[in-house]
Symmetry: C2
Amino acid sequence: MEFLSLYSDEYFMQEAYRQAQYAFEEGEIPIGAVVVSNNRIIAKAYNQTEKLQDVTAHAEMLALTAAAEYLGNKYLHDCTMYVTVEPCIMCAGASYWAQLKRVVFGAPEPKRGYRRVGNLLHPKTEMVSGVLAQECAELMASFFASKRN
Amino acid sequence: MEFLSLYSDEYFMQEAYRQAQYAFEEGEIPIGAVVVSNNRIIAKAYNQTEKLQDVTAHAEMLALTAAAEYLGNKYLHDCTMYVTVEPCIMCAGASYWAQLKRVVFGAPEPKRGYRRVGNLLHPKTEMVSGVLAQECAELMASFFASKRN
């Protein structure tokens, strides 16, 4: 990827992408997330459902828990969560409860993404999609291609 | 409550209710859950969102994680989850991923329950509602009444 200006959505998505790469290297579906507060990354996580054998261990869930732990507050009103792929229903539901300021995701997920059942995010949460979408989607495609071979 | 026959839905819901009572005593919204496999309770949990300051720490999420840990398997195909109140969207989403055999809940939750957006459970998951519904609802009502006073 090219140089990305600091504090842009692309910059932070690149950090989420790096997390997704760690997931890939560990044989996990490659999805990564970071939570940003006041232009600082306060939590990073990647999908660990296989390693932990826990369906709740999605990147977003781990990142939200870590961000709340860092802030000492379950509400993340001032935070933006960057995630490489459109969140699933579980993760959108968690984002609702956390009342995030923004949710920014990369690749759409028509089959498993939350948008197929409507807008599940909190009314106060702004949603942005398509940031580094191609890179995020290609990482997913590479992963599933490698699993088929 | 009266005596309940062993292995009935009411029996296991009473165990979930007991978990909800622990939540109540700790100042948490009183929701409890247990996961049952082969007529044995393999996980118990109650809502701990306040104590942990973590929106993901719903009774169901903690119980699903504990059950998967116990079984060493993220899929809970042979398990029934009993929860005192209709699950929220996040928890229904987690139940979907876990592919539970059954989800049994007590009191309906028209405002925050998952059913307002459709059936979010896995197609293989049987859903039963209304088990000890009155007791479970009264515990919730008592809690919110105590918070208002």
